[in-house]
Symmetry: C2
Subunit: 103 residues, 2 copies
DNA sequence: ATAATATATCAATATATCTCGATGCATGAA
DNA sequence: TTCATGCATCGAGATATATTGATATATTAT
């Protein structure tokens, strides 16, 4: 029950849908890439990433000072279905632009 | 986008999950049946039914003064998946008890 | 050690959602 | 018409969630 509510709650927000789709399209991105592509302040993004991660959609791979987020694998059927449904949505996902100084 | 958010928003509430599962199990129930089974006030139930209906999960069949709610058919794959996922949840769904005076 | 960069968390505020009680509307019985 | 019943909707208060700016932590370079 709790994890179900966390899962659907995570995708019940347009900002998170766009971030999730962005990661789905770009495979592995760090927070500053998202910050750069979406023009949002970092704290806001970090918060949403945490929610998506705790809902089971994302995994993090920390390398040095960077945190690379990607779609968690393996992903169960239910979350796969949700991701697919999100892929059908028509919204503007910004282009990937390297956001960090280590370009 | 809007309808997606409506859909996941509708199942992002424990009360609605329980009502939805109750209807799924009992096929066709009127508002007072739910009122009686769940011991909730009618306005609360009516509000949740409206949200579930507008999210595409339910349909209404009005007969006289009664409004019979049931799972909408046909139901698209995404909502079917959600319903299935809800069926796996472990929560107490009350027994059906005839709630109306027309018993 | 100091500074810069990347990320996470916190507190305050704004916004959305849930719940309740009251009210309105429609149907059907008396 | 008058009343009771079933359902829907509204307003107010309570609770939850999102956003921002400030701050904290961690890593790496100098």
């Amino acid at each position: 029950m709790d994890i179900f509510l966390k899962t659907v709650g995570a995708v019940n927000d347009e900002t998170r849908l766009r971030i999730l789709r962005f990661i789905d399209l770009n495979k592995e991105v760090c927070v500053c890439d998202i910050e750069n592509a979406f023009d949002m302040i970092q704290s806001r993004i970090s918060r949403h990433l945490k929610i998506l991660k705790e809902a089971g959609f994302l995994s993090v791979n920390r390398k040095g000072r960077w945190a690379y987020y990607s779609i968690r694998t393996p992903l169960d059927k239910f979350r796969q279905n949700i991701l697919e449904e999100i892929s059908f949505l028509e919204f503007n996902i910004p282009e990937f632009k390297q956001g960090c100084k280590n370009g």
